[in-house]
Structures are given as structure tokens and as C-alpha cells.
Symmetry: C2
Subunit: 640 residues, 2 copies
Amino acid sequence: MRRSIATVSLSGTLPEKLEAIAAARFDGVEIFEPDLTGFPGRPRDIRDMAADLGLTIELFQPFRNAEGVDRAGFDRVLRRLDRKLDLMEELGAPLMLVCSNVEPYAINDDGLAAEQLWAMAERAGARGLRLGYEALAWGTHVSTFDHAWRIVERADHPHLGLILDSFHTLALPHDWSGIADLPGERIFFVQLADAPRLDMATLMLSRHHRCLPGQGERDVGAFTDAVLRAGYTGPLSLEIFNDSLRSAPTRQTAKDAMRSLLHVEERARRLEEARRADAASHRPAPRRVELFDPPAPARLDGVAFVEFAVNHATQAALAADLLRLGFHRLGRHRSKDVDLYGMGDIRFVLNAEAHSTAHSYYLLHGASVCAIAYEVDDPLRAVGRAEAFGCHRFEGRVGPNELSLPGIRTVGGELVYFTRRRADGSIDFETDFRLETGDALPTPTAHRIDHIAQVLPEGALDSAVLFHRTVLDMEPEPVVTLADPFGLVRSRAISDHRRRVRFPLNIASGRNTGAARSVSTYLGAGVHHIALETADLFAAAERLRANGVEILAIPANYYDDLAARFDLDDDLLATMARLNILYDRQGDGEFFQLYTQPFQGRFFFELVERRGGYDQYGAANAPIRMAASSQPGTFDTLVG
Amino acid sequence: MRRSIATVSLSGTLPEKLEAIAAARFDGVEIFEPDLTGFPGRPRDIRDMAADLGLTIELFQPFRNAEGVDRAGFDRVLRRLDRKLDLMEELGAPLMLVCSNVEPYAINDDGLAAEQLWAMAERAGARGLRLGYEALAWGTHVSTFDHAWRIVERADHPHLGLILDSFHTLALPHDWSGIADLPGERIFFVQLADAPRLDMATLMLSRHHRCLPGQGERDVGAFTDAVLRAGYTGPLSLEIFNDSLRSAPTRQTAKDAMRSLLHVEERARRLEEARRADAASHRPAPRRVELFDPPAPARLDGVAFVEFAVNHATQAALAADLLRLGFHRLGRHRSKDVDLYGMGDIRFVLNAEAHSTAHSYYLLHGASVCAIAYEVDDPLRAVGRAEAFGCHRFEGRVGPNELSLPGIRTVGGELVYFTRRRADGSIDFETDFRLETGDALPTPTAHRIDHIAQVLPEGALDSAVLFHRTVLDMEPEPVVTLADPFGLVRSRAISDHRRRVRFPLNIASGRNTGAARSVSTYLGAGVHHIALETADLFAAAERLRANGVEILAIPANYYDDLAARFDLDDDLLATMARLNILYDRQGDGEFFQLYTQPFQGRFFFELVERRGGYDQYGAANAPIRMAASSQPGTFDTLVG
């Protein structure tokens, strides 16, 4: 499959865009006319630059309001066309996109449209150039792919074909299953874009909120599968109009875009394979193009450990906090200045090793989470899949006889490790630690990591969703908007389908929210809090209280409101108020949670208890937490 | 008229909000429940705080999904109500807003709704409290004010009244003229909000994009007039859900909000006065409340001068640039280190005076525009009106026998002066200058200021629109979105109806656009370029060329595209390309423009020629200008 992208999808000047597109290993590019118009060189300079970069110029676009116009108007269209054909020759673009007329004056007459497109194709053909006709979802008369196809079929000119666009096709409630029955050789080009489901007009959605396939909520993979079944063998090309990408770092966007296209190919391949498996009912035609075939996702069994970058002083302070929470010191690294703490299945690594990656991270961000390790069934396959999707493998410094933990760097620069459980039930990374074999450990306060909430810089959410979806086969949950006293926080959780790994990802829309202030850099993501699951939050809370853990004090008004909203036992309410436990309900499921005071203003811990299948994160309580933590005098030291 | 605002309209903690609301001289406040729930004190603490600040707590809100529910559900509603009535008593709030049920399970039965609201009012009444019923535009069954009124009328309880909201009323295409016929004493409360016309669902518009009256596109003044005609005498209260205000500086928002309410009152007063003037047809009832009555707007005759903050070195450099543009040194200030340059009716003041306001401005922003002076018919009335709308008067240092120019500070901190033309045709401020009486001046390159484009920090556009609309009686033009290579720029021009003064205001959505980079601080606005009108741009361009002025080089591709888009004479096109002149057309109107190189990266000049009633700013060319100025090698020195 040839992979292409439209220049409008990226930020920057045209040369910057082309360089980033080439660096991300695209094969081709669509030149969006305004990029060319504002470029100080000539079209042939762009042709040369693309050639030097190994990029094919696949398409020049768009040519607007061409068909369904009156005779005088069409004379002007042809004069305009001639100018653009000159330009295409100089640019070396073989194909131009002609989009359906959106003017109110457009004439509703398929015969006229076909006739005019024929005349245009005749001129293009005389120069060996081709035209592709595309239905815009808001075209005055032509808004669907099948209507555009009827006109192309009627015009019946070898230099005129159809252009399909997943955004325009999937934006309307129009049946698009007929795409698979189109003659593939008459589809001249295919553009792909995803979009969220937002309650706004299609035009506004299209111009401002398109996103890369895999970042939104449309099935671009199924669309692509239909196109391939039709027999299309041309390039797949991303065309993304998105306000945020218009100002995002160009190279990062290009890399994300390539990852997105690979994701689409993998989805289309899976659909095809499912059809082949079902070949008893019908025999699919052999595929004509190569599709991306990465290693299958590893099975995610949970978070194996979380690594904190610390120095000696913060290592001691954090260790003291962890002990109060019920953690134990489990051991020390055989060769490095690294300690292991744990309780239940939770493992925290406190890394104070000098000259390490963690140390650099500490210098940049202060005491903070610098790596997360997943427990998977096959760590090397996990890394292999990540590399196939364009991630960089990370190799840490390894001592003699120590384990080299397979790892990658994420988009934000954090490290992700992959570990596995051995036959004896231990996790492989623990072999690097000299475990302390002391007394039997008491019952843990909490037994596993429930979720890890992260704060991302503005504009980074879509990129993170794509990373987790492709590399780790996790899926995004719905977006929720939370009101911090100083601005809105958009939150979207990503989780695997078994809910072993859950990451609520938060984006602060202003710079004054607690979430925004906790991100110490605009380049990296930040773990904001870690929620630990407990079987009995009330017992755990009493224990924290006895240990002197500082808990976020919840306003009494919250409990008054809770009493009004839910039928809760008065004693239970009083206990919750005393222990600063928050509450949420979802159907029959119940959720109890409490928060600790932030460690050096960077991150905090949450303890949660889920009952009866509660499957969320207490979003209704987040504004209370944010309000309570932004007002003075709200952290009580509850000494028992 | 009592003036009130809902706490949800502002950013911050509840105490911060109350303090800002009191400082902006509001009389009362609506307490939005989530603000209270997250407050660490008790409701009585808020009552005390409001009392200390001289604020009346007018309303507690909202109480949701109360009416049209089944029997078991209504028992729960009543238990919830009792809790909230307890809270209201402690808070000292006499009235609670009950909004129409939005749940799918709501029962469509006005009789049941009336019965249930009656039962609720009975409980409230027993404690001396009142309930107000409001139709939400997306209520399941009750979505219009008249439907809500029918239910309130049917319930017929003295402690139950109607609450009107301009957003919900004006959001629907529903006739709201009947408001004036409602019995005023049964309207318990009136909430005001404006909104832009965006092509999205009402719920999304309401939750994220409401704005202060005068910032949007709804006639909140006419709505208020209708409410007053009904005989309503309660408070007017702003209730704004807006993403940007949620993270905006609290005190600034409160001041803007007060200005907005005053604007509404003035509009309502004008409508009333127009009716009185037309009293032959009907005799309006006497008004029962006091309405804001500021001095009438002064007549704007143009920009009298623009003042630049410079030091000695930049003064000399800028003066040299101005001379090349065709300006002349007209004189020097009698007592200050200030020079006056001009041509035609254009006057630029170059202020290098030490220890002046301009000097502080220079230290903060570098060489830049620090003040704009308007020519008006009555400068003192202009300042009086500005003060009535909450602006601060500015008094500069004045030498013996020098003119004290009436001035104010704008929202962004810039100075605005008001001057007037004397009987002899001269502008009064020139008396402070020793004018040089040399040879007769040659024909000027340009004769007046066409427009002054400014860049505002994100979130500041609405505030600026409100300032210009209220203080200067200017009106906003439609919003246009311009694509810079590094992000989008939202642009909205403000102008007076005679087009004597025009300010395109630009907001960069990212931080990398040319516009964003030219704003040296997030606190101040910045003049980005000044467009000078000329009667013959081609002659002017030749003259600039001869003078060695550096002009922004426009890509040849632009002229190819122009040739395709418009039927332009080839010779004209060639001349435009040679002189780097851009072109736009609107109906029969034509527009020609060129740009100079930025002065020290801060601001630049534009020369424009308007033909045939062209009334815009060449927005279609802005992306070309932004692309051309962000690529290397684009500023040619055209030495003739």
C-alpha cells in the first residue's frame, strides 16, 4: 500500500512539511494549494524538493465549484482549469481533486455536471493529467459517493475518476456499503480522516475537528477494507483539517500520522482475515496490495511496577510516605542505587542512581514517575510491535548477570518496560533485586494498582490515544469534562478490555488548573496520581489515619449534597465524612475513594474500593477534589 | 435595577469570586451549587462573607429534574428538596431555581408538573422561601418560557414563580414577544447571557460558549426591555457558562460583567425612549426601576494620532523609516522628548521622554504603539462615558500652558486619548508641538489611517469587543479564521458605522503563529500593523521602491492563482507582481494592498487602496502574507 498525506494536515512551511513527511517514511504527498501559493519558490522547486526527498506528488487539491454551472460560468471554470493544469505540469502532479460544487447557484442536473466534467477531463487528458471527482458532505446537490460515482460513470472519460474520502462518507447517515462494489480502477484516490462525534454541523467538524484515524470514533478501517474489496490499489492518503495539528510540532505529527495509517492497514487486514476465516459462505478475492502486518499485541496482565525518579533526600521522604501507606521495603537493586517497595501486587521502584536516565528525568521534573512497566505474556513481541509502529527501543545500563528489561520510549519521552511473570509466580524484573526475607508481611492496605492518572500538555491527548491504541491495543473511553476552580480539565481514560491497565489522561484547557500546574514541562507527560485498589477502604482509611497519613479534607457541604442525591445510611455518611471518603454510584455499582496529600506538589495517591461492577473513576467527585485541593487549610493531618 | 451575577460565570474559589463580584460593584449574587459544595467552610460562612462584602445572596441554583416524575421518584425529590431548603436557610438564599426536567423518563403532563411544583412550593413557603421555575431550551417536555409559565400559572402558589433566562429564550426559534405581557410580579428572577451564532447543538453552545451580553449576537437588550415592560423589578443577573472565563482572571471578568450589564441597561433604556418618542400610537407604562444612563457616545471622526514608545536609538530608526514612507517631521514637543511626524491626515507621535508612561511601555514591550488618540466631537463627554462604564481616567504629566489631553486606560493597559478638531481645522493636541514651517509639503503617499490591526492574547477578544462596543459605540464585524503556517488566527474587526475607525483584532490559537510571537506579553495587547490609505497604490508603491523601502515579497505562485481566480488584465497582474501588491474583490469593490518589513520584529505598515466600496481587509490574502513572512529570504530590498 502506498502511504500518502496531504500537506494541510501538518503545521509549518511547505519545505518543513515535506521534510517531516519524508522523515516519517511516507511514499507520497498531496499538495494542498494554499501551501503552494504561499511558498516563495516556483512549483518546480517543490517538484525537485519532493524528488530529492523520495516523495511522489500524488495529487494537487482542491479545484472547487467547477461543475453544475451556467455556460458563462463554465467558460471561466475552463480558463481557471487551464491555469491549474499548467501548474500541475510544472509541479509534476498527475491528478487533481475536483470537489462537488457547494455554491447556492449550482445547477441540480447530473447530465450537465457529467458533461462539464467530461470537458474538463478532456483538457486534462490532452496533457496526460487526470481529474478525480469527490463528493463533499455539504455539496449543494452532490454530497454522497454514489451520487458522485453516477456522474463519473455518466461522463465516462478515461481521465476522470472518483475520489473517496472517509470523512465525507462516514459523516453522513448514508449507507456506504456499496463502496465495495465500485470498480476499483475507477477510484483514482482515497483520502482518510477520522473524527470525534461532536454535536455540531458537519462543515465545522470537518474544518476544525478531523483527527487521525484511530484518534476518533469512525471506523476508518472498515471504510478502507471496503475500498480494498472494490479492488483499489492506489495510495491511502491522510487529509486532516485540525486546529490543534495546525500548530503542533511538524515532525511529531508526521510520525503520528504514519502510525495512524499503519493502524488503519492493520484494522483492514483483520477484517479481511475474518472474512477469509468465514470463507465457507463466500470466497474473498485475493488481495492486490501489501498491508502492514505487525506482531500481534501482547496480552496486558497489569502494571508490573512504577518507577520513580528521586534523589537521596526525596527517596527517603517518599519511602517514609510509602511505609505509612502500608508499603514494605522489599529489596535493593544488586548494582544500583535503587530500592523496591511493595504491597500486594503493587511494586514501586525508587531510583536514585546517579548518571541514569532516571536521574536526568529527576533533574528535569523533580521527584516523579519516570517509567511504567507492564506485565505481558511476551515482552519481546510487545517491543517488536512497538517498533513496527515507529517507537524507539530503549536499552538501559545493565550490570553483569542482570536482566535487560525490554523497553520503549513513549511519545512524551517516558519509558515503558515490558516484563512477564515466571513459572514460579515472581515477576522477572525482581531478579535484579536482593529481596529482604524478613517476617511475614501483614495484610496489605491495598493489593493492586487500579489506575494511573496522567496530565498531558494541551494538544497531546490524541497522540497519546493513538499510541496506546496501536502499540498496546488499549481503547479510549468517552471524554468527560471536569470543572477545576481555575479552568476546565478534559479527561479521557484509556484501558484494556479486561481493565487490568487503566490510564485516565487529563488535559487542562487553561494554565491555572491544578492539573496544568502539576505538569512541570510542556514536553513531557506527567503522572498526576496513582490509585490503589483496596478490598475495604474503610479499614484502609482507619489504618492510614492511625499511621498519620495526610488525607485530603473533603468539605462538609459535599456530604450534605451526597445525602440529598443518594439514599445513604446516616451512619455510613458520618463515617465517610469523618474519613474523607468520597462516593459515586453507577447502576448497581458503588465507588469509594480518598486522596492523600501531594508528594512535594507533584503527585498523590488515591485509594479506591469498587463494588458491584462500578467501572468508572468517580468523575463526579473530581471537581470536589480539585476545589478542595486549591483552597487553603484543606489538608488535615489525621493523627489517630 | 439590582445587578447580580452567578458564581459559575467566574474563575476561582468561591471566596475569590465573591470578593471580585463585590469589587466590581454588583449588588447581589447567585450561588451556583458546585461552588458551595467544593467550599471547605459551611454555608453560613458564605452568608457571612457575602454580608461583609455588601452582597445580597439572591438565588441558589440549580435544582434539577424535580417535576414530571412518578410517585416514588417524587418522594425522593421531596427528600432532596428538604435538604436543599435546609441549606438555603443556612445560606440565607430566599429563592431557588428549579429547572425543567431533562431526563428521558420525564412524564409529559402539565397537570402533574403543576401539582408537583405546588407541593414543593408549599414546603418552601412553610420556611418563607420561594421557588422559581425555568424552562431549559433542551428540557424534555418544557423548553419555552410560555410553557413554563402555563405550569406556574396552573400551580398557582404564591411561593412559586417564573424564572426567565435570555439564553434559553433566544436560543430557540420561538416567538418570545409574549414576555412583555406576563405579570411582572410573577417573574421571580431574570438571568441574562449572550451567545455567538455557532452551528452546533444548543446544549453544547450553552455549556461552553455563552458570553457576556454585548459580546455575542443576541439582542439581550430587547429581551430585557420586554422583561421590564412586563413590570419586573427584581435583579438582572448574569449567568455565563464559558470555557474561557473559567480560566480568566477573576477580577477582570467581574469588571467586564458589570460593563456588560450596564450595556444591557442602556440598550433597554434606548428602546424604551424610542417607544416614548412614538407615544402617539401607545402610551408606555411608567418605568419602575432605575436604569443606567451614561453620557451619549461621542461622535468618532477618526484616529487623530498614534503614539509610539521608543528610546533615542529606535526613535531615529523609526523616523528614518517614516521618512522613506513619505512622512515628514512636523514638529517637536514644547517640553518633552517627543517628535511629531505626519502626512495627509496621519499623525504619528514618537515618544522617547524619560520617566514617562511611554518609557515604561518601551521597557516592557520594546518599540511599539503605546497610545491611540481618537478625534471626537466632545472629548470630555467621551471620557465621562468611559468612566461611567468603569474605565480609569489617565492624567499624563503636563507642562506649563500645555494641553491636558483627556485619556483613559483600556482593558489591556494601553492609553486612549480623545482630541477634537478646532474651528481653524487643526487638531487640539498639536498646540503642544513647535511646528516646523518649512517648504510646502509634497503630495503624501497616503492620506489617512485605514485600519490598525492588533493582536490580543488568547481569551481577550470578547473583552475587547465589549470595551469598544460600550465605551466607543463601535460594532464588531463577523469573525474570520486565517491560516498562518504555524496555527490558526481568529480575527474580528471592530469599527464605527461610518468606518472612520477600524480595528481588526486578532487572536492566535497557538503560540507559534507570527501574530502570537509578536505579542511580547500576555498582559498587553499589541498593535501589529497600521494600514494607511492611499488614493493610488501603484504610484505609492513606485515611490516606496524609489525610496528603498523594504516590501514583503509575494510569491509568484500567488499571482498565478490570482490569474486563475479573477479576470485581470495581464499587464496589471505583471505590475502587481513587480510591486508585490495583493488583490481582493468583493462585489464591485476592489482592494489593493502591500506590506512593509516589520520594524524590529514588532509591527509593520500596510498601504491600501479601496475602490468601489470595498469594505473588508483582504482576509483572503492574510494567509499569503503570513506564509510569506515566515519563510526565509522573503523581504526584498527594492532599491529603485
